[in-house]
Subunit: 232 residues, 2 copies
């Protein structure tokens, strides 16, 4: 871990330590934003049992987030930009592109991916392989050695079953979503800037899992719950 | 139900009756293809409890499939075509576009959607609203009255949390995936050609749920399991 992070709150350092060991952590963005808790793993440590855990315990959309530096190195666009380009050929797209979410800012969605060796792409084994391959690309970018674009194109294909999320160009100073918060945590932990995230849902209310219930889940399962306000 | 369907196998007619009542059915494509069982609801009957059921009992990607006629009426493209157009601006895309899946044919993926009134877009309530809005567009196309394109653009936005799937132009004669099979079942049931589908996964093997286990789930829960070979 980098010395510059010694001033981080203890809960953040504990979460970073858990992530380095390949364990999940939980991140709450803010009561003033989505007010949502995501279950998060580092992409490079996302095994099949991680996917299984995310879908059974969280239940949202299992997405992989990457640092903006990774997206730039590979040349990956946001989906709203892809749709804007394609609207020249498919006019309906121009009238449905979301550029301002209800909770503020543009959506983080990029393209969707499958590992080239996956079969259906959706099983725990296949989605794990996809997320790990994304993590490997981030590792190459973070390490400054190797051709990230070539690694990306030789291991991944689109469209697929894992939506990719891209950190806002300005990071947390620009957008404080789970994408930016999880990538910040990966950087603090000294891990490649790539995560797998999934929203925790509540089948009783059919809404997001409330912060109190999320806190109970964290205590029951020995997981660290990080408040977005603790990350800068 | 249309008279032309009187020659359908009894299991198909039972499944059609269940769907008309808003109940789930299960569809197995084929042992020679994905060899996967999807849990399926009609889009117009997809309540929040349906989404909750799909994510807890199936665990795959919760997608909404539409008839090719619906896609044509609205002017909706396949995602591989969207990516091909955007590749002029983002060269990496040209090297990762999947045009031939391991199980045969092009992927059915189109764009991803949220209902315009959704907040995060991922909750049971939000995804239900999104799928129902897709069902409403299909209803307009099937009824031959009203402006499906206007209905689509005024109720839906992209990118979102519900991947849209488009039936192959030639339907089952061209592609025998869960997209085409579920749309065929909706048509047989006299329902608008729009469904919500989710792959049944196995957390023990980290693969697709085996056909034997799927059959047990169907019996335990009083659901009809339709073999793809029964649909033409």
């Amino acid at each position: 871990m980098n010395e510059m992070y010694e001033a981080e709150p203890a809960v953040v350092l504990k979460a970073a330590a858990a992530l380095r060991e390949g364990r999940a952590v939980m991140i709450h963005d803010s009561a003033a934003r989505e007010n949502e808790v995501d279950l998060v793993y580092p992409a490079i440590h996302c095994g099949p049992e991680s996917i299984s855990h995310l879908r059974s315990a969280a239940g949202g959309l299992i997405c992989s987030a990457i640092g903006n530096d990774v997206a730039r190195a590979v040349g990956l666009p946001f989906m709203h930009d892809v749709l804007a380009w394609a609207a020249a050929s498919y006019p309906v797209l121009s009238s449905i592109i979301e550029t301002d979410t209800p909770y503020g800012g543009k959506p983080a969605f990029s393209i969707t991916l499958n590992h080239r060796n996956s079969f259906t792409g959706v099983t725990d084994a296949d989605r794990s392989a996809t997320v790990k391959a994304i993590g490997r690309v981030a590792e190459i970018v973070a390490g400054g050695k190797g051709d990230a674009g070539r690694q990306f194109a030789s291991t991944l294909k689109a469209p697929g079953h894992v939506p990719l999320l891209i950190e806002a160009p300005g990071g947390l100073a620009e957008r404080r979503g789970h994408t930016e918060l999880s990538i910040r945590l990966m950087r603090i932990a000294g891990l490649p800037p790539a995560s797998v995230v999934c929203e925790m849902l509540d089948a009783r209310t059919h809404r997001s899992l409330g912060l109190e219930d999320a806190g109970q889940y964290a205590r029951d399962n020995g997981l660290i719950l990080v408040e977005g306000s603790h990350l800068h």
